[in-house]
């Protein structure tokens, strides 16, 4: 009986630690793998990048481009030299350029950002299963929400975020790429929840026989304690955040453009929650389109582009969906009066 239990435990541990993927997940990985490279800074793998332009441009998180000399390594073993083409400060995403390499020479495909409403329908209850490609491994996770509102420090820029949850004990997740099972990019992990419950090491598993902790027959060759805990105990639950697919699509489109830089809609306003309904304008950036239109600090935005604004969160949600260059109507409450101004959406 004890021998059977031990052998089962060993089997589970080996399989678990490798995060063996289901057949559908493995198929999805095979499909996207040619478009992915590991970004290396020196001899260290600093992140992952995904092909977004057949001309040899890869998308990666800014955290992957810390070193002075960058290389990219494909799963086939091929190595290419990389350089930073541009960095989007708003989303912290970077565009990497290869030297002397083009995708047309290989059987690779650009990764299309998903349709905006594909993931919008996802909710906590209807989480979308995603593959998460990390620097050293691939794991599975769940896209539980794509409609959160986040604030990027220190710019205080508001963005919509996706929440992705997965079990991944003690592994760097920054810069990880999230794909749906049909091979579409849905996120680039940039932040993780700082919570003891979310980030604490896996719990102790009591009753582990010494066989699993110390090795077989007292000698070497058995499972390590951490590996055994990871196999049988509750694993670390990572709650990570990525920019939402809407914004990701915009970023990819911007990186593909001739300017190689995405443009994010902005009016030049910083808001906070008003005492009543509306977003109280805390500051107006000099030279912005809002300043040019006559919006002042202290005004309360009550409507933007026909959408009622209850607070600064609503303001962010509506602003994100605007297009640079459009002109929108802004309804403001200034003292006792309500005024309407037309403002051009800048970047």
């Amino acid at each position: 009986m004890s021998l059977w239990v031990v052998s089962t435990a060993l089997t589970l541990a080996v399989g678990w630690s490798g995060q063996q993927l289901a057949s559908s997940e493995a198929m999805a990985l095979r499909k996207i793998e040619p478009s992915i490279l590991r970004v290396m800074s020196g001899t260290q793998v600093s992140g992952v990048g995904v092909l977004v332009d057949p001309a040899g441009y890869f998308l990666a998180h800014r955290s992957a481009v810390g070193g002075p000399v960058l290389f990219g390594k494909f799963s086939s073993g091929e190595i290419v030299q990389l350089s930073v083409a541009s960095v989007d400060d708003v989303t912290q995403l970077a565009l990497l350029r290869t030297e002397g390499w083009r995708a047309v020479n290989r059987d690779t495909a650009s990764v299309q950002a998903p349709q905006s409403d594909y993931v919008q329908k996802a909710s906590v209850r209807n989480a979308t299963r995603v593959l998460i490609v990390l620097a050293d491994r691939t794991t599975r996770g769940d896209l539980t929400s794509s409609n959160l509102v986040g604030v990027m420090a220190p710019s205080r820029r508001g963005l919509t975020l996706s929440e992705i949850r997965f079990e991944d004990p003690q592994t760097a997740v920054g810069g990880g790429l999230a794909f749906t099972l049909d091979g579409r990019l849905v996120g680039v992990l940039g932040a993780a929840l700082d919570s003891p419950a979310a980030q604490s090491p896996s719990a102790e598993v009591r009753g582990l026989p010494d066989l699993l902790n110390g090795g077989v027959g007292g000698g070497g060759g058995g499972l390590g304690a951490n590996r055994a805990k990871a196999a049988f105990g509750p694993s670390t639950m990572t709650v990570a955040y990525s920019i939402s697919p809407d914004i990701l699509e915009r970023v990819v489109a911007g990186f593909r453009s001739s300017s190689r830089m995405p443009q994010h809609p902005a009016l030049g306003l910083m808001c906070r929650d008003a005492s009543g309904q509306g977003a109280l304008i805390d500051s107006v950036r000099d030279g912005s389109t809002a300043a040019q239109a006559g919006i002042r600090t202290g005004d309360v935005v009550v409507e933007l582009a026909g959408n009622p604004i209850r607070n600064q969160v609503d303001y962010t949600r509506v602003l994100i969906k605007l297009r640079v260059g459009d002109t929108v109507r802004v309804m403001l409450r200034r003292g006792q009066e309500v005024i309407s101004l037309d403002v051009k959406v800048g970047s």
Partner: protein, 252 residues
């Protein structure tokens, strides 16, 4: 060996031959090693069979085994113990139950009927014939004047109090006339709570100091603030959930 000889040996071993026949056969067996060996085997068999009359307790036998089981009772159940397979399963089950319990709204307790001292009145009512059984040798006069009219049964609905620091409420049920509401008063300085006979509270139920009503946050009030510093070991920027967005400045 012939069958007939073998039968004779068996009869000899079991003492079923006459003395003369036994002596003749022993003489034959002494000269024939095979016969002697066979006779010896049958003799041992007889001795073994004789020993079966005193079967030891531990000798396996269907009847004895059954008797031993019935006499000894069932084996003690093996303690579950904390084995490394059951622990995570048990933890997951407990977490699941707790999650369900937390998500479920607290149920409102059903109306509770408060016992009335009607029975005590019956004990002192001399008009009630209790037969010849033992009765309490007490008289109503010993307890002063008692209103013999049964008060209306009071039912009160217990509602969930506000989440504040509560002290034990001491209540006093005032006697009331029939048909009139019974006043329930909190004695510990808490707010007065009035209840009608129907049980509907006429005043908010509170104990001690009450906290101001919580402002309702808009549905999207939870924000994720992403800081530039990175989490150690994770390699990702630090994200913090902010429950209320009131003081968060953001825009674009």
């Amino acid at each position: 060996m012939k069958r007939n000889d073998e039968d004779k040996l068996i009869e000899l071993a079991f003492g079923e031959l006459t003395a003369e026949e036994a002596e003749q056969l022993r003489a034959c067996a002494s000269s024939d090693p095979k016969l002697a060996r066979t006779l010896s085997q049958y003799s041992e068999m007889r001795e073994g069979l004789a020993c079966l009359k005193e079967i030891p307790e531990m000798q396996l036998s269907c009847d004895r085994l059954r008797d031993a089981i019935l006499a000894g009772g069932l084996k003690e159940p093996r303690s579950i113990g904390w084995n490394w397979v059951g622990v995570p399963i048990a933890l997951a089950a407990v977490a699941f139950v707790i999650t369900l319990a937390v998500k479920r709204p607290l149920p409102t307790m059903p109306p509770v009927a408060v016992a009335t001292p009607v029975e005590s009145r019956d004990l002192f009512d001399p008009s009630i014939d209790r037969g010849t059984g033992p009765v309490a040798a007490v008289k109503p006069e010993m307890f002063g004047t008692i209103d013999k009219t049964p008060p209306e049964p009071v039912t009160k609905s217990i509602v969930k109090p506000s989440p504040v620091v509560r002290t034990a409420a001491k209540v006093r049920v005032a006697e009331g006339e029939t048909g009139k509401p019974v006043q329930v008063t909190a004695l510990d300085g808490g707010a007065r709570m009035g209840l009608t006979a129907e049980g509907a509270p006429t005043a908010p139920l509170s104990f001690g100091a009450s906290e101001p009503a919580a402002t309702s946050n808009p549905p999207e009030a939870t924000l994720i603030v992403i800081e530039p510093d990175k989490l150690q070991g994770i390699g990702a920027q630090r994200a913090t959930e902010v429950e209320t967005s009131s003081n968060v400045v953001m825009g674009g």
